[in-house]
């Protein structure tokens, strides 16, 4: 049985391989478009959003439609690209929008000092729910709205916390 005769149908194998690859490529494109324009699951960990989010990690569903339509407002938990390191994303709560005045405790661990700032147009003020252990707008200032990547919709994991984020 010679390999290079008509015993092995190379052409149909190649065609099938190409078809299967095309299906995988189309699926990956669908995955990309869904993750970027519809909704995406995100793993969030860290102490800065206690008690709303767990320290050891939650999987949240972030929807990626509202921020493009300008529908993000105060009180929303959002996914934001970090203004300090663009390779990282943060999850914080929007406290004030552009044009609003925000009053905040600068460093609650060490002093009671409060500051009031007007948020510039096109920017948002984000803070973690746990102000004692959160690096947010109190340290790096208001962030441009263009850094917002999505709004958190609900918790998916762990299952006992499934559902809306408001407790």
């Amino acid at each position: 049985m010679n390999l290079f005769g008509n015993a092995v149908p190379w052409r149909s194998i190649a065609r099938e391989a190409l078809d299967r690859t095309a299906i995988v490529a189309k699926f990956l494109c669908l995955l990309h478009v869904t993750n970027t324009y519809v909704c995406t699951p995100t793993l969030v960990y860290g102490p800065s959003m206690l008690p709303t989010l767990n320290l050891t990690g939650d999987v949240l569903l972030a929807e990626r439609v509202s921020h493009r339509l300008g529908k993000v407002g105060p009180g929303d938990v959002v996914l934001v690209r970090s203004p300090v390191d663009p390779r990282k994303s943060l999850t914080k709560r929007v406290v004030a929008m552009g044009g609003d005045e925000v009053t905040f405790v600068v460093d609650p661990r060490n002093s009671e000092r409060v500051r009031t700032i007007v948020v510039p147009r096109g920017h948002v003020w984000i803070q973690g729910d746990n102000i004692y252990a959160s690096s947010d707008s109190r340290q790096f200032g208001p962030v441009p709205y263009g850094l917002i990547e999505g709004k958190m919709l609900c918790r998916v994991w762990p299952l006992d916390g499934f559902g809306s984020l408001n407790h």
Binding site: K26, L28, C29, V84, P86, G122, H123, G146
Partner: protein
């Protein structure tokens, strides 16, 4: 043999043809959107803030190729031309040249003091200083606002070619250990 097509057969045929066409358009749209988001896209340049590199005369708009591979690691060099979302209006996008990277000191002739570009931010200016709204008005902006890097001019044909990285004498000083790419 004679084939007789009923009215129902004809309607079913049209419907499945329409469905096929819709599926094809949908697939092409998905692939096009993915490629344009992750690899490269072509955008038109409006305004004269980057003259003479783009739109040297105000009659036509240049079309440029914007690559998105740089968004993986966010490694940029001085003189790169980038597309970024405006810090004051997230719906607008601007095209300017990077003058300062994180850690650089920036000084302009009409300012008496120098400014350090904070970590994670960058300083942009248009080539045509007189008609450019850039970091001289809105300050350093976060690297996260960048949407792509301009590599080539693709239209009009007489100006097709690579977009060169021009570095002039600014900034005053930059971190010596920062690697420059390409």
């Amino acid at each position: 043999m004679k084939f007789v097509y009923s009215q129902q057969d004809f309607a079913m045929g049209t419907r499945s043809l329409l469905w096929d066409i819709t599926k094809k358009y949908f697939t092409v749209g998905l692939i096009g959107l993915t490629v344009s988001d992750r690899y490269a896209s072509i955008v038109s340049v409006r305004g004269s803030s980057m003259s003479p590199a783009f739109n040297p005369r105000s009659d036509t708009n240049d079309y440029v190729l914007v690559e998105k591979f740089c968004l993986d690691k966010y490694r940029f060099s001085h003189g790169d031309v980038v597309v970024f979302s405006s810090p004051s209006n997230h719906k607008e996008k601007h095209i300017k040249r990077i003058i300062g990277l994180p850690g650089d000191w920036i000084g302009t002739p009409n300012m008496d003091d120098v400014l350090k570009v904070p970590e994670g931010h960058f300083w942009v200016e248009g080539d045509n200083s007189v008609s450019s709204l850039d970091s001289r008005s809105f300050g350093p902006i976060p690297l996260g606002l960048i949407r792509g890097r301009v590599t080539h001019v693709v239209w009009p044909p007489q100006r097709m070619g690579r977009v060169e990285r021009e570095t002039n004498q600014r900034p005053l000083s930059s971190l010596q250990d920062r690697p420059e790419f390409y």
